[in-house]
């Protein structure tokens, strides 16, 4: 990790001497086994409206989560935003009290990999540019986007933000992990309206290590082209369609069903997979899926998880076979394997994916290699993005019914779809994929090719 000279992280007093202070306090409180996750950040963000600053926002945040094991070995936890000695003491006392109500039948422990070497990822920490820079940059971007087409009348959702973040994991067995990083984001969501037509919208997002590194022109172009492409719209008849998901859309869909390969969800009975699913087919034989938080394009990557386990590249589906799961220390114990670097920090530790990579196997081809969204003459529905996943996905049942943005494509001509939903079952989708295109597209949330699925139900608004 390299550092910028003016990084707040070098002078971050909130995290200074945390281990020493904790050792003193736990000694006073007679706590022998403990661990702690802490994070501090400085954030700047701006939103604008037609050339005027709408909201300028800054924050200095700090938070800690502390876990203690009591004399019976049962775990308690507390979180607080107060990193002073007084705050730490209250958190430790609170965790001690909570431990008397902890779950004695499933006690998390330290990760066996908490002292293993960390991966070496190269991420510069970029300096914060400040509110004035963000404001000028966003005003320029808004102006360019508004002038890109006469029907684009506003950018109702926009934001430019930058952060510097520091995170630590410490435990009573001498583990002391720390990562400092920076990130920036830009989103532009344009709204267009033509006479006697419904308003249409589309947007784009970009992430980078620093606000000065954002691909602003690319974001403007994508938002403008997307919005313009939806101006000519028609309703779609309800029925079954050949569907092509863009990489962004398919990653959104698969991410909503990540309980399929989440060991915590499997143990809790919340997943469609079960303890016997490993080694069995779950998808078409030409599909691979990895979770790779270390991917160079993953701006938010961390070298360790909430338990201090190093981040890893994990194969989840190999040639259609469910090959791996994502784990915490506790779930790995149940499955008699090693933690994978996907844990949070809690009394009951959650597990979540980092960065999904979908690819085509080398050895097995799909049955419809001719399908390519750039060249095919077949009629199909191209789905650009899925909406309202929190409401329309039933992960424990496998079903989804989701509004989407997309186009009906005939002979290569695209017509935007007025308003429609797509519905189906994720296991059916994974086993009826008819084509994975060759080009791997890097998005802000993972990597995937365009994915083709046949016979999916689409409901149009008549």
């Amino acid at each position: 990790m390299s550092r910028s000279n003016d990084s707040f992280l070098e002078e971050n007093s909130a995290l200074a001497n945390l281990q020493c202070r904790l050792e003193n306090l736990t000694s006073i409180l007679n706590i022998r086994k403990w661990d702690l996750g802490a994070a501090t950040s400085v954030d700047n963000s701006v939103q604008i409206d037609k050339g005027e600053a709408k909201q300028l926002k800054g924050s200095q945040r700090s938070s800690i989560t502390v876990r203690v094991w009591n004399s019976d070995g049962v775990l308690g936890i507390t979180s607080t935003t107060d990193l002073s000695d007084n705050g730490l003491r209250k958190a430790l006392e609170g965790a001690q009290q909570a431990s008397f109500f902890g779950n004695s039948k499933d006690i998390p422990n330290f990760s066996p990999l908490a002292n293993s070497p960390l991966p070496n990822i190269k991420r510069d920490i970029k300096p914060l540019q400040g509110i004035a820079y963000l404001l000028t940059t966003l005003k320029d971007a808004e102006s360019k986007l508004l002038s890109s087409h006469k029907s684009i009348e506003s950018i109702p959702y926009n934001g430019l933000a930058e952060s510097q973040i520091s995170r630590v994991y410490i435990n009573s067995e001498g583990c002391h992990r720390r990562i400092d990083r920076s990130q920036a984001s830009l989103y532009l969501y344009a709204r267009a309206e033509e006479l006697n037509r419904k308003p249409r919208s589309s947007g784009a997002i970009r992430l980078a290590l620093g606000s000065a590194d954002l691909d602003i022109e690319g974001c403007i172009d994508e938002a403008a082209n997307g919005t313009i492409s939806h101006l000519n719209y028609e309703s779609i008849e309800t029925g079954k369609y050949l569907v092509c998901f863009t990489p962004e859309a398919f990653l959104e869909l698969l991410g909503a069903f990540s309980s399929l390969f989440n060991a915590r969800s499997i143990i809790d009975g919340l997943s469609l997979s079960n303890i016997h699913s490993l080694g069995k087919p779950i998808a078409v034989p030409f599909l691979n899926l990895n979770d790779n938080g270390l991917h160079p394009s993953n701006i938010t990557s961390s070298t360790f998880d909430g338990e201090g386990t190093p981040t890893q590249n994990i194969s989840l589906i190999n040639g259609g076979i469910l090959e791996g799961l994502i784990h915490s220390e506790a779930t790995a114990k149940v499955f008699k394997t090693s933690p994978t670097g996907h844990a949070g920090l809690g009394a009951k530790v959650s597990v979540s994916p980092d960065w999904l990579e979908i690819s085509k196997t080398n050895s097995c081809t799909s049955p419809n290699e001719h399908l390519n969204h750039k060249t095919t003459k077949d009629s199909y529905v191209l789905i650009e993005g899925l909406n309202a996943l929190h409401a329309g996905v039933k992960a424990s049942q496998g079903s989804f019914s989701l509004p989407f943005d997309g186009w009906l494509v005939k002979d290569g001509e695209r017509v935007s779809i007025e308003a429609a939903t797509i519905a189906g079952d994720i296991l059916d989708v994974l086993t009826t994929i008819v084509q994975l295109e060759d080009d791997q597209i890097i998005t802000h949330q993972g990597v995937s090719p365009h994915v083709w699925v046949d016979n999916l139900s689409i409901t149009g608004e008549a």
Binding site: T78, Q97, I131, S154, T238, N387
Partner: protein, 477 residues
């Protein structure tokens, strides 16, 4: 065994003793040229407990302190949040907020600030709430009784979960217009969830109750009927077919059925939507925007309701706001920034999740008022349609299109409920759907929920009587 968790005490309680320090900051901000400076301070204590099957599997206490300082200059504002409540920490936050607007506290002019008014203390009678709350062992016993009852009433249950959460919050708001208000809030919620499974069939059903300002809420919880309702619904939906997609009339049940109004119309009546240019109703005050059968209200006053507030997060006393009367738009939901930027008067609706968010115009208890029909009359008026007994979540997009999922639905044939169906999503646009709400029944009930938007996740209540929508798009298979 220690049986309770006590909230941490910050060095000083958030009360009138802060007046001098806050006046110095407000005066400084005004002298630097700000039109208005507002300081929101909070001290909060949260507790979450989860029970799975017959064990408590997670107890999560958390504490937070912090302040959010907002500076207005013309239509613009700068907002800074911090966990540091020391004089230096607050001064740094103010300086940062001023600098965002090109102001500087080292270049002072004349301050028009005339000092804070005497404190408007909405916390009276609430100071003992923390002592009245159930202890952890009592909470554990109640929630475990819930999961035990699920086992008793349910069949084919693969997962049984019970949960409890509470949020205690002490807030102090001071602004350079003299506002000086204090409140204590207490929100509690209890939930039961199950997943039923039989071969290829699966159903997942959950219900959550929530109250505000009722320390005895858990003790008064009717856990038996809550568990029965969840298990009955899960059993019916386990073998339900997927709904066939199409355009059809729908009858939406009361309580959480009100999410349709919340999503389809309520959000579009927040002044933040006028500011963004994303509401079709911006210029519709006094105009017919809904069927004449529809009167709708947003208020913070219903005693014990999850969305009730004594004061909003800008220190203004809660009130009742008639949004729509007999189909005609009467008023928008407005906060301080909304009043400055759109001219709509504040309605005591400036709300935020915590000090890390600037307040925004947000709903409280929002519902369609009762009509004259019985629920039976609504169902009998439908030849072929969908009865939506229980709703899942939903959302509204930037062009006004909304959607929400139906958790428990039934086909209506010739005025009678027939087979259960699952997988339905209701889709539409507010402007088109509101005129189609043609009948309202006389059985208004409210239901607790959480709403996520620009100022974070907040507690709200949705509600309605049974209503009939003449035609709506139902997404399915």
């Amino acid at each position: 065994m220690i049986q309770t968790l006590k909230s941490p005490k910050i060095s000083e309680s958030l009360d009138a003793s802060w007046q001098r320090k806050l006046e110095q900051l407000l005066s400084l901000g005004c002298s630097a040229g700000a039109d208005l400076v507002e300081i929101f301070m909070e001290n909060s204590d949260h507790l979450g407990l989860l029970a799975e099957e017959d064990n408590v599997t997670s107890v999560n206490p958390s504490f937070a302190i912090g302040a959010g300082i907002r500076v207005f200059l013309g239509n613009r504002d700068g907002f800074v949040s911090t966990n540091d409540l020391s004089e230096i920490g607050l001064r740094n936050a103010l300086d940062q907020a001023l600098s965002m607007l090109g102001l500087n506290s080292s270049k002072l002019g004349v301050s028009g600030f005339e000092g804070l008014k005497s404190i408007n203390d909405f916390s009276q009678g609430k100071s003992n709430w923390q002592n009245e709350l159930p202890h952890l062992n009592e909470i554990s016993e109640s929630i475990l009784r819930g999961t035990s009852l699920l086992d008793q009433y349910g069949k084919n249950l693969q997962v049984r979960r019970g949960s409890y959460s509470r949020s205690w919050q002490e807030v102090l708001v001071a602004a350079s217009d003299g506002t000086f208000s204090r409140d204590i809030r207490l929100h509690q919620s209890t939930g039961l969830n199950v997943i039923a499974s039989d071969g290829k069939y699966r159903s997942s059903i959950g219900r959550r109750n929530g109250t505000e300002g009722k320390p005895n809420d858990l003790r008064e919880w009717d856990v038996d009927s809550h568990a029965q309702e969840v298990c009955t619904s899960a059993g019916i939906m386990l073998y339900a077919d997927y709904v066939e997609a199409g355009q059809m009339p729908a009858v939406l049940a009361n309580k959480f059925g009100g999410v349709i109004f919340h999503e389809a119309c309520g959000h579009l009546l927040e002044t933040t939507q006028i500011e963004r240019g994303t509401t079709p109703f911006a210029n519709s005050i006094g105009k017919l925007i809904a069927n004449e059968a529809v009167t709708a209200t947003d208020e913070g006053l219903t005693k014990g309701a999850f969305g009730s507030i004594s004061m909003d997060d800008e220190g203004m006393q809660a009130k009742k706001t008639t949004l729509i009367k007999n189909g005609i738009l009467k008023q928008f939901i407005s906060d301080r920034a909304g009043e400055i930027r759109t001219g709509h008067s504040r309605t005591g609706s400036g709300r935020r999740q915590s000090h890390t968010f600037a307040a925004a115009s947000r709903m409280r208890n929002t519902y369609i008022n009762p009509g004259k029909y019985s629920p039976k009359e609504l169902i009998e008026s439908v030849e072929n349609g969908l009865y939506c007994k229980s709703m899942g979540g939903g959302s509204v997009g930037p062009t006004g299109q909304f959607n929400f999922s139906v958790e428990e639905g039934y086909i209506i044939k010739n005025g009678k409920l027939t087979k259960p169906v699952k997988g339905a999503t209701l889709i539409g646009e507010a402007k088109e759907i509101m005129p189609r709400i043609s009948m309202c029944a006389n059985d208004l009930e409210l239901a607790a929920g959480f709403c996520g938007s620009i100022s974070g996740n907040i507690n709200v209540t949705v509600g309605q009587p049974h209503i009939k929508v003449d035609s709506i798009t139902v997404g399915g298979r």
